[in-house]
């Protein structure tokens, strides 16, 4: 028995020597999406707890989830890993419901969106928003603030840097409202605040953003 085992071992090592000279692993995964049949096959294998398929699943999903989550947790990027772990775990747990009507990417991003909403709701609930008397004054347009010399990528970088400088609550409010296109009413309901309080918070967030943006420009 042991002689047989040793023979197999030598054979495995021989094979591995041949394999290790390959410059690329056999299964290269760089794209965000797979053909539908491949996605279904992958889902079945992950559900059967195949470790290799699970690695493929992680490699496939992590990049787009990372990008999505990171842009929404600015400036608290140290929370990205914990939230991503929650998202992938929730994704795996809900895979039995995956029918392939939408791509795996859309499926996982929908879960990520729910998790982000949960996080925003919790953080904004914890925030004490004091409401002053009187109507807020009319706000200036932001168009004049924009630098026409900046290309789209540079402008986006500057937006991200400016968001990172704001207090977390302001950043969350701005991203929830304008990036995720939540209405003020939805934001108020989800975070247990009044619409008026949410409008105040957004007004302050916009004002702070403008100040930081202008400060960086000058």
């Amino acid at each position: 028995m042991w002689r047989l085992c040793a023979t197999k071992l030598m054979s495995a090592l021989d094979n591995s020597r041949q394999i290790t000279v390959e410059t690329q692993p056999a299964m290269e995964i760089s794209s965000d999406t797979l053909p539908l049949n491949d996605e279904r096959r992958l889902v079945e294998e992950v559900l059967s707890k195949d470790r290799k398929a699970t690695a493929e699943f992680v490699a496939l999903c992590t990049d787009f989830v990372y990008s999505f989550v990171r842009k929404r947790l600015v400036p608290r990027v140290e929370l990205v890993e914990d939230l991503m772990q929650e998202i992938l775990l929730a994704g795996w747990q809900s895979l039995p419901k995956f029918r392939g009507d939408a791509s795996l990417r859309s499926w996982i991003l929908a879960i990520a969106r729910h998790k982000i909403d949960d996080y925003y709701r919790r953080r904004l609930r914890e925030t004490d928003i004091t409401t002053e008397e009187g109507e807020p004054s009319a706000e200036p347009a932001i168009e004049p603030l924009l630098d026409r010399h900046l290309d789209a990528a540079a402008e986006h970088d500057r937006v991200e840097r400016t968001l990172a400088l704001l207090p977390e609550t302001y950043t969350l409010a701005l991203i929830w409202r304008y990036r995720d296109e939540k209405s003020v009413r939805e934001m108020a309901q989800l975070s247990g605040k009044t619409e008026k309080a949410m409008e105040r918070l957004l007004a302050r967030a916009r004002e702070n953003f403008r100040k930081e943006w202008t400060h960086a420009q000058s």
């Binding site: 394999i19 290799k52 990049d63 787009f64 842009k71 992938l88 795996w92 986006h156 990036r179």
Partner: protein, 110 residues
């Protein structure tokens, strides 16, 4: 309340930029993979390596050794990567110096 036009401008300024997608660091992928496998193990044994091979996946040289060891199949289901140097390097460094073919942690390297 800002005017609808100002609201539209804010939306345009803060919109998600699909072009500027950052790739996740390979060490993060490695830690997420280990965590997901740990969660899978909590609900019962992983599929055996034979199942992976039958599904068309390759196994690394260490897993090959496990495959040929004359023990019961149940003894071949644990997550052997927990004892592997490749996992430790991959979880702590981006693009670590690991090169084993069919190692999941090598797969995460950029």
């Amino acid at each position: 309340m800002p005017s609808p036009e100002t609201e539209r401008q804010w939306q345009a300024l803060l919109a998600d930029d699909e072009e500027s997608r950052a790739s996740a660091p390979s060490s993060l992928k490695a830690r997420l993979y280990s965590a997901l496998i740990r969660s899978q193990q909590e609900t019962g044994p992983l599929a055996s390596l034979e199942v992976s091979v039958a599904g068309g996946h390759g196994v690394c040289v260490f897993e090959k050794l496990v495959q040929i060891v004359p023990v019961a199949d149940e003894a071949k289901t644990p997550f052997f990567c927990t004892t592997c140097h490749a996992r430790i390097l991959a979880e702590h460094f981006d693009n670590p110096p690991i090169f084993w073919a069919h190692c999941p942690y090598v797969q995460f390297k950029a």
